[in-house]
Each structure stands twice: as C-alpha cells, then as structure tokens.
Subunit: 150 residues, 2 copies
DNA sequence: ACTCAACTGTAGCTATTGCTACATTTACGG
DNA sequence: CCGTAAATGTAGCAATAGCTACAGTTGAGT
C-alpha cells in the first residue's frame, strides 16, 4: 500500500505545514510594516493610535508588536514618539506592497469581485512563493483571454 | 485630507485584517480535520502519533488540539483510543479537501511548479472566499489559453 | 502471566496575540 | 503656568500553539 499517510509530498521538509507556520511568524511583521508605510505616506507621521485603528486592535497590542519589530530592526521609535521605518523596514514594506498589489490585481484578473479580492488578497499574500508570484504577474501582464467578460 | 489611513476598503468590518484573524482561528481545525480524514482513508485508523508525524509537531500539541476539536464536535476520541471524525468533521473535511484540490489545480494551471503549488496551496486555501474559489474552479475547468506551455 | 517498547497523557515552561484597567506623559488651551 | 484630554505605556489576564520531561496504558511477544 502506497507510502505513508502524508498526503502531500515532502520535498523541502518534514511537513508542508512547517512552511505555513513559518509564514505566520512573519505575517504580523509584514502587515505592520506595510501599514506603517501606508500611514506614513498618508499622514506623514505614524502613531500607535493610527496603527491600532488601521489593524483593528487595541493600542496595547500595537505597542507590544511595535516593540518586537523594533528589536527586529524593522521599525524605529521611542516612548511617546512617532513610529518610523528602518532601512530594512522600508525594503520589506516595498516588497509587501508590490506583492499585495500583484495578488490583488491577479484576483481581479480572474474575475473575483473587488471587495472579496481585497479581503482574500490580505490573507493570501503571505503564502505566495516566488514562482507563484511570478506566474500571477505574468498572468496580469498578459491575460490569456477575456475570461472575465462573458 | 482623504479618509483615514485605512488603505483597504472596509466593506464588511472595521478592518480587512479581522477576517484574516478569523480565518486563522479555523485554520488549525481545518488542517487537522483534513489530516484525520486522509489518515483514516490511508490506514483505516488515526492515532495521535499519525497526526503528529503528519503535521510535523509533537504528540503533545496534537493531543491538546484534538481535545479542543472534540469539544467543538469535529473529532471524536477517547483516551488511548483512535481518533474519528464526527458528522460535522466529515463534512468540513470534504469541503476542505475539495477546496484544497481546487487551489492546487489552479496553481498548476497558471504554471506554478508542482512542489511550490503544494506548499502554497497549503497556506492559501484557508484564505480563499467563495467567489475566489468559484473563479479558480472556472479557470481550471476551462483554461483560457495554453499559458502553461512555452 | 509478565515484560517491555511504543504510544498517550499530564505537568509545566515559552512565545505570540488578543483584552481591560490603571498609570503616566504630552501637548494644547485658557 | 497649569489643568485636562488624548495618547501612550504598564500590569496582569486569557487563549492558542509550540516544546521537554516524566508518568501512565496498551498490546505484543516470550
């Protein structure tokens, strides 16, 4: 009888779920860094309060996560001071922004309604590998047919 | 100055991230239920040990999560006994299996290499809404062009 | 029947992300 | 200046998901 109960091939590790777990670890960082970049762009200054409103969580949660991201050299702040991006943070934010835009455009290109495209892109973007992203980009650049228009 | 710093529209809640957080809450349930179904199908019996190997975590983690899923009426077990699916669990597993297959086929259809398609499908499947899934299904059923063959 | 290895459960730790309640700081207006 | 409201920080709680170490069960083989 076939191999083990592993339903997915384990080419790069003991379990495909390992990658998903790793993604979750960076997901928060990516969301916050991207949000900081957006807020900075819109208001010129990013405060804990802005992030709390943007992410839909309490200011306490934001404070703690910002502290962690500062220790990871992604954000830069001081008590009662605005939050800025480090060089690494800027770079990560740019990558995330680009990837998010690609995923969103891709979903729209295959015919997903805008509101669901927004919601799903938020969750999907963190789980899209390099090859998948490239395929999405190619698809958006050159949609194979008028699939979206009946 | 425009609206708020919300970069994404908030059509169905205070923040698009709320949905992502909700998805995460059910993600574990879905993964475990699906794994139980697979193991049951392959070996006829599902033990804590099988799940631990399948998910790449320790048996302790599995025990605790199985207990929670039992309290949620998705799994059914007893101390030192095999793990089975409840009716609700069966239903959820079937839905997940179908969705996973769709996402994976879709990724393959847009040209993602099989190994990355496996990995990414694992992370993406939990964040795919009904409309997005339907679009993927339509795409797989009727690929617009020979996008995958250079 | 008994022994023993494998399996399972329990205790107790860490880390992350939520929260409320309370304390402190900033900054603005009078 | 000084007071106050808003913003921020801190303390301490809950739930989830990891882990190691140790204890208890099961079941197979002798």
């Amino acid at each position: 009888m076939a191999a083990s109960a592993q339903r997915r091939p384990s080419a790069s590790g003991p379990s495909p779920f390992a990658k998903v777990r790793r993604d979750h670890a960076t997901e928060t960082a990516e969301d916050y860094v991207e949000a900081v970049a957006d807020i900075l762009h819109e208001r010129g200054e990013c405060r804990v309060r802005d992030l709390a409103r943007n992410m839909g969580v309490s200011h306490v949660t934001v404070t703690r996560i910002v502290a962690r991201l500062q220790s990871e050299d992604l954000l830069d702040t001081a008590p009662y001071r605005p939050i800025r991006l480090t060089a690494r943070g800027e770079k990560l934010a740019a990558e995330c922004r680009r990837r998010h835009a690609t995923v969103r455009s891709f979903l729209l290109a295959i015919g997903v309604p805008p509101d669901e495209a927004d919601r799903d892109a938020e969750g999907i973007e963190h789980h899209v590998g390099a090859a998948t992203l490239e395929c999405m980009r190619r698809f958006v650049d050159r949609p194979p047919a008028s699939e979206t228009s009946p």
